[in-house]
């Protein structure tokens, strides 16, 4: 059972990855290129200024060419990421289904993807947003990575606590009140964390604002595509399989629900 869920999750993640790659290639890459053009212009200006002072900088060696980074490199990263998230998603689903709520597998899958998107990406990125190349000093990579992963871990932990709280409160307060209260607990918890963790602002003062804005919107859109395909695709396939195996019988057929 877990095995088939895991395989399904990874397959749905793989398909999600293909769509995310398509989007990233068309919309995200032009922003990366513009950011790199800015970086190159800055480096050239610095090299010229240094040369005038008699210092000769060596340009950074290029291990992987830009066309490779923007095609197969991007494809590798996105496919590994989305397939791995598909597998993780399936394992969390295996635990949550039949436990977290009395909803059917399709609704559990959709809600799980929504909470996953909020906890893994949206909230950590509101504190430490995605940055294009040339934003961020190489010297601070360690602290920036630590802070980003700390924000992500605390956001996920707060979401797990909120999910348990919602389940506990639901019999006493009803599902709506329980969901609203535990949702508010999550929001307050991540606001406290975000207020305590130090800010990072390393955007060069003359970096084009439009490029930064588009880059961040495209980054968010990639995540929305991935989580939507995971939540809706995995849910549809799993519900169909559960009904076929007699593991789940919907109270009403969808046609009746929507009538």
């Amino acid at each position: 059972m877990v095995r088939s869920l895991l395989i399904r999750g990874m397959l749905v993640g793989f398909v999600a990855g293909l769509l995310v790659f398509g989007f990233a290639k068309i919309f995200g890459e032009p922003q990366v290129d513009r950011a790199i053009a800015f970086e190159t212009a800055m480096d050239d200006a610095k090299m010229k200024a240094d040369a005038a002072k008699g210092i000769h900088d060596r340009p950074e060696p290029e291990l992987v060419s830009r066309p490779m980074q923007a095609s197969f490199g991007l494809l590798t990263g996105v496919m590994v990421y989305a397939t791995a998230f598909g597998g993780l998603f399936a394992l969390v689903f295996a635990f949550a289904n039949g436990r977290a709520t009395k909803l059917g597998p399709r609704a559990v899958s959709a809600l799980l993807a929504l909470t996953g998107f909020v906890a893994f990406y949206m909230v950590p990125n509101l504190k430490y947003p995605a940055n294009p190349p040339s934003v961020g000093h190489p010297d601070t990579i360690t602290i920036r990575t630590e802070l980003y992963f700390a924000m992500m871990a605390l956001s996920i932990a707060a979401m797990a606590v909120a999910a348990v709280l919602r389940k506990r409160l639901a019999p006493k307060l009803g599902v709506w009140e329980a969901a609203i209260i535990s949702g508010a607990v999550y929001i307050v918890a991540v606001m406290v964390v975000a207020a305590i963790l130090p800010p990072i602002n390393e955007v060069p003062s003359d970096f084009p604002a439009v490029v930064l804005w588009h880059f961040r919107v495209d980054s968010a859109a990639m995540q929305i595509i991935m989580w939507a395909v995971l939540g809706l695709g995995f849910g549809a396939l799993t519900e169909r399989s559960f009904i076929a195996k007699g593991l789940y019988r919907p109270r009403l057929t969808p046609a009746l629900v929507w009538r």
């Binding site: 291990l63 980074q69 950590p124 995605a130 990575t145 980054s219 919907p250």
Partner: protein
């Protein structure tokens, strides 16, 4: 009586935790894969050099991980 009467729904039974536990190892593998895309040869490094970092460079930026 109709099958569709209220209360006749069968919520799928939870999968026992002991059945899920052995699969946690795959969860750890998934996290390792995400680590390689997101952070390897940046803040920390398991493999020498910068090749992994450079290869997944664009996806690392676009997926929201800190880079450089």
């Amino acid at each position: 009586m109709s099958d569709k009467a209220i209360g006749s729904d069968v919520v799928s039974a939870p999968i026992p935790v002991r059945e899920i536990l052995p699969w946690i190892i795959f969860g750890a593998l998934m996290l390792l894969a995400i680590y390689f895309v997101g952070a390897e040869e940046g803040a920390t490094s398991l493999i020498k050099g910068m090749y992994v970092h450079e290869w997944v460079h664009d996806s690392r930026h676009l997926l929201g991980f800190p880079c450089h």
